[in-house]
Amino acid sequence: MTEMRMKVNGSVESLDVEPWVSLLDALRDRLGVTGPKKGCDQGACGACTVLVDGMRINACLALAVQYDGREITTIEGVAHPLQEAFVRHDGFQCGYCTPGQICSAIGMLAEYEAGMPSAVTESPGLDEAEIRERMSGNLCRCGAYNGIVDAIMDVTGR
């Protein structure tokens, strides 16, 4: 067992975990923070996306012990205009991928602001093609992709 501390959604949490426990399982099963979802447990669907010091990661591919001393934000700790925009543009149906989509979108906007390019970056401006490319790690089987892109476009004022 390894003792570790993380700041999760603003509160410091101490926990004892085996070194093989993923960050996702630590959050969900040990801390009861169930906002991040488990859709594949192998980094293919993005439902587990959380923000670590503002950067988006797949929590299922991260070992909890690597995040000792870090600050984790899950959907429960998010207060962002995107949430209302998702409701207004119907950027979800069942809601299972939604926490990951919203956390991912917040991380994606930060990446974009920091000047990180994507495979489709040609001209300046965060257009629909850019958003689609940058959000493609987050699957939505209900097919709410249009609403998600509209919600993100809405909050970026474009």
């Binding site: 085996e18 093989w20 426990v21 399982d25 969900r28 099963d29 009861g32 169930t34 906002g35 979802k37 488990k38 859709g39 594949c40 447990d41 192998q42 980094g43 293919a44 669907c45 439902a47 899950t74 959907i75 429960e76 998010v78 949430q83 209302e84 998702f86 409701v87 207004r88 119907d90 979800f92 149906q93 069942c94 809601g95 299972y96 991928c97 939604t98 926490p99 919203i102 629909e128 958003i131 689609r132 490319e133 959000m135 493609s136 790690g137 987050n138 699957l139 939505c140 089987r141 209900c142 097919g143 709410a144 992709y145 249009n146 609403g147 998600i148 892109v149």
Partner: protein, 755 residues
């Protein structure tokens, strides 16, 4: 159609909500992480279960060594056929026993040494943590005696036999006139073979169950889209009365049919909880979902069409082969849509089915029509090429006035209008009819159309409606929310019926203690519930009127003279609010129920089905860009124009329709479940290797609908969860044919098929 956005708090009791784009009532719960799914309910003594899957397709377990698993620190128990308590066998399939229809296979798990498919659960490990359970499961070592197995659809399809008659879930084969002779005599004809692969639902929430026994009382948090059937099935398997099982499923992370039956994970979680005396959570891995939850059958189909030189169809032959499993499964009604789409004097439709040693197949979004329309609508397009005729014109020339096979009337049929609107809106006239000539830079551009069709059913639903003296309304029914906006739509209907603001209505659902609902299957839920909500609200208005106190302007009025609005009943000479009436009568609340009997309902359904064909239809327009060097296909534009009856919520309806189209694009271009033809093992049981569409694959999808109520349906509405996947794959294939000149008849249309 224009979508009028109304914020609930701005709306008043005089607003009509039906048809408007109101916010989902659970939007905040879903965007804040507060919505809890089946694997997210904590219990103090919770243990975690993991499955051990068979690695052979058919045979016997000669030994199963659990010693190494048992000594892992934190393992609670290892259940195998040698030590697991017995469940009762799966009931024989009968239409009179809904619990039997919920049965996903005839296998009695952990009861015998038999293995019926590669991936079948052969042991369950229960442990203190999910990691321990999974690790210990990897240490369980079965030894098998293998038996010959038939697992390869491509080779076994030749052993298919005609599907047994009399399955009421199926619209079977049909014969009218002499299709063979008419086909031979037709001046223009096409005769094509098509194939579709197995597809899997891949709801993003993997199936999960948390099971808690308290004596003979079972509480279950289950990711099910069919609470009622699953409860009946569990009662039969575990020998307890239905009323001692409570299933809670307020949020389900997508279903698409895959959560409509009792799959092994649910049964084994309940069994493990019974055996260990612990609360047990079994959250399937993604691979576990592939191995224990069936998908859509693969199919091969022949469509042959004969026509005269003017494009009037003279013959349709549509035959199919699909598979079930030796241990169960439902024959896929592949030719359903072909019964209803074209006015043809000579029709031959038939199904054949082969039994394989694989996991059972099951229903997936528009079973039958989704893959049947791919073949039919591709063949119609090919016939249009043969005739040198516009494919929309060919369809309109053969649009029937009455149902082609049965001669019955359509309750509603506006395909002509759908195509006319769609062609205008999509810019169909800009399409150069020649193949391979439209270009956008280096990309080849193609435009295709196809018809969507899905039969419409509904079921009896028991609803209670409670009106409080505070003017608030509670609608109760064990309905399901798997993404369609169930509570929102029923709240809109109830608010309109009682004339109260939307925020005064609460819909309680997702709990088997509530009045009996209907599965979220077959696009049946919304219309089924609406019928009973309407009936209950009518009773409630009468009950309120009966309480009108002396001196009330309502006193002595007939209910037909009154209008429910502004939170009360009103006559042109005056009215009273519900609060005034209930308070004056000294009542805290009024509650009414509507409980249709199954018998009465069936009688009406049979009478209806003798008179009418009820269905939703649509016109799908697709534009693709194809890279001439790599064969890469990108969908660049889409429009779906649908004839759906009344739309309850403009926004959630558009989302649901888009969702079906997205799944149809996946069907067309990237999705397939690959089965090793030697071992019967699924080779790509993951979201990394089974390619569902991602953001970058999906353009803006334009949705339009005609919004004409169907006079035979409650509020004129039909369920709309499935229609939009139908025709979608054909629209893509037809656009690819236009862009490249190549007809791909074998889904998915991957790059190699275009090179």
């Amino acid at each position: 159609m224009s979508i009028d956005y109304v914020k609930p708090e701005q709306a008043t009791g005089t607003t009509r909500y039906v048809g408007q784009a109101v916010d989902r009532v659970d939007g905040t719960a879903k965007t804040s992480g507060q919505a809890r799914f089946a694997a997210e309910f904590p219990y103090p003594d919770l243990a975690h279960a993991a499955l051990v899957h068979a690695t052979i397709a058919r045979g016997r377990i000669t030994a199963i060594d659990t010693a190494a698993a048992r000594v892992v620190h934190g393992v609670v128990d290892v259940l195998t056929h040698e030590n697991a308590p017995a469940m009762k066998p799966a009931p024989k399939m009968s239409m009179l026993n809904l619990g039997s229809i919920a049965s996903s296979s005839s296998v009695n798990y952990l009861a015998t040494d038999e293995v019926h498919w590669n991936g079948q659960p052969v042991a369950v490990v229960v442990a203190e943590t999910v990691e321990t359970a999974r690790y210990a499961a990897s240490l369980v070592a079965p030894t098998y005696q293998e038996l010959p197995a038939a697992v390869d659809f491509a080779t076994e399809k030749h052993n298919a036999v005609p599907e047994k008659k009399g399955n009421p879930l199926l619209e079977g084969g049909a014969d009218k006139g002499d299709a063979t002779a008419a086909l031979a005599a037709a001046p223009v004809s096409v005769d094509l073979e098509f194939s579709t692969p197995q597809y899997n639902h891949n709801a993003i929430e993997p199936h999960a169950t948390t099971a808690v026994w308290d004596g003979d009382h079972l509480t279950l948090h289950d990711s099910t889209q069919n609470i009622g059937w699953v409860r009946k099935h569990l009662a039969q398997r575990f020998g307890v009365p239905e009323k001692s099982i409570r299933i809670l499923s307020p949020f389900v992370g997508g279903g698409f049919g895959g959560k409509g039956r009792a799959w092994p994970g649910t049964l084994l979680a309940v069994l493990a909880a019974r055996a260990t005396g612990r609360a047990v959570r079994l959250a399937l891995t993604r691979e576990g979902v592939y191995h224990t939850v069936g998908g859509r059958t693969p199919s091969t189909q022949r469509v042959a069409l004969g026509a005269d030189a003017q494009g009037r169809l003279t013959a349709i032959v549509h035959t199919s082969v699909s598979r079930i499993a030796r241990v169960g499964g439902l024959p896929e009604p592949v030719t359903t849509a072909t019964h209803h789409l074209y006015a043809v004097p000579n029709i031959h439709l038939s199904h054949e089915v082969v039994e394989l040693d694989l996991l059972t197949n099951t229903f997936m979004r528009a079973p039958g029509e989704a893959i049947g329309t791919f073949a039919l609508e591709s063949a119609i397009d090919e016939l249009a090429w043969e005739l040198g005729m516009d494919p929309i014109e060919l369809r309109l020339r053969n649009e029937p006035e009455r149902d082609p096979v049965s001669g019955k009337s359509f309750t509603q049929r506006m395909l002509r209008e759908a195509y006319a609107r769609g062609a205008e809106r999509f810019g169909w006239r800009d399409r150069d009819p020649r193949p391979g000539v439209m270009r956008d830079g280096r990309w080849l551009v193609g435009m295709g159309v196809a018809t969507a069709f899905r039969g419409s059913i509904h079921m009896p639903v028991h609803v209670t409606v409670r009106l409080g003296a505070d003017g608030k309304l509670v609608v109760r029914c064990a309905l399901h929310e798997i993404g369609m906006g169930t509570a929102t739509a029923q709240a809109q209907i109830a608010a309109d019926e009682m004339g109260v603001p939307l925020e005064s209505v609460r819909v309680e659902y997702g709990d088997s203690e509530l009045p009996r609902g209907v599965g979220a299957i077959g696009s049946a839920q919304t219309a089924s519930a609406a019928a009973s909500v309407l009936a209950a609200c009518a009773k409630l208005r009468k009950a309120v009127l009966a309480l009108a106190p002396p001196g009330s302007p309502l006193r002595g009025r007939r209910i037909e003279e009154l209008e429910a609005r502004d939170g009360g009943l009103h006559h042109r000479d005056g009215g009273q609010t519900y609060t005034e009436i209930l308070t004056a009568a000294g009542r805290d609340h009024l509650e009414v129920e509507h409980k249709p009997t199954m018998l009465g309902f069936l009688a009406r359904t049979v009478r209806d089905s003798r008179r009418w064909v009820k269905a939703t239809t649509g016109a799908q327009f697709c534009e693709v860009r194809v890279d001439p060097d790599t064969g890469e296909v990108r969908v660049s534009r889409w429009l779906g124009v649908f004839d759906l009856g009344t739309v309850i919520n403009a926004r959630t309806a558009a989302s649901q329709l888009r969702g079906g189209i997205v799944m149809g694009i996946g069907m067309a271009l990237s999705e397939q479940t690959l089965i090793d033809h030697r071992t019967g093992r699924i080779m790509n049981p993951s979201l990394a290797e089974y390619h569902v569409p991602v953001h970058a694959d999906i353009p803006h999808i334009d949705i339009d609908y005609l919004n004409e109520p169907d006079p035979t349906m409650p509020l004129g509405l039909h369920g709309i969860g499935e229609v939009s996947i139908t025709g979608a794959a054909a629209a893509v294939a037809n656009a690819v044919r236009h862009a490249t000149g190549k007809r791909v008849r074998d889904l998915p249309i991957t790059l190699d098929k275009l090179l």
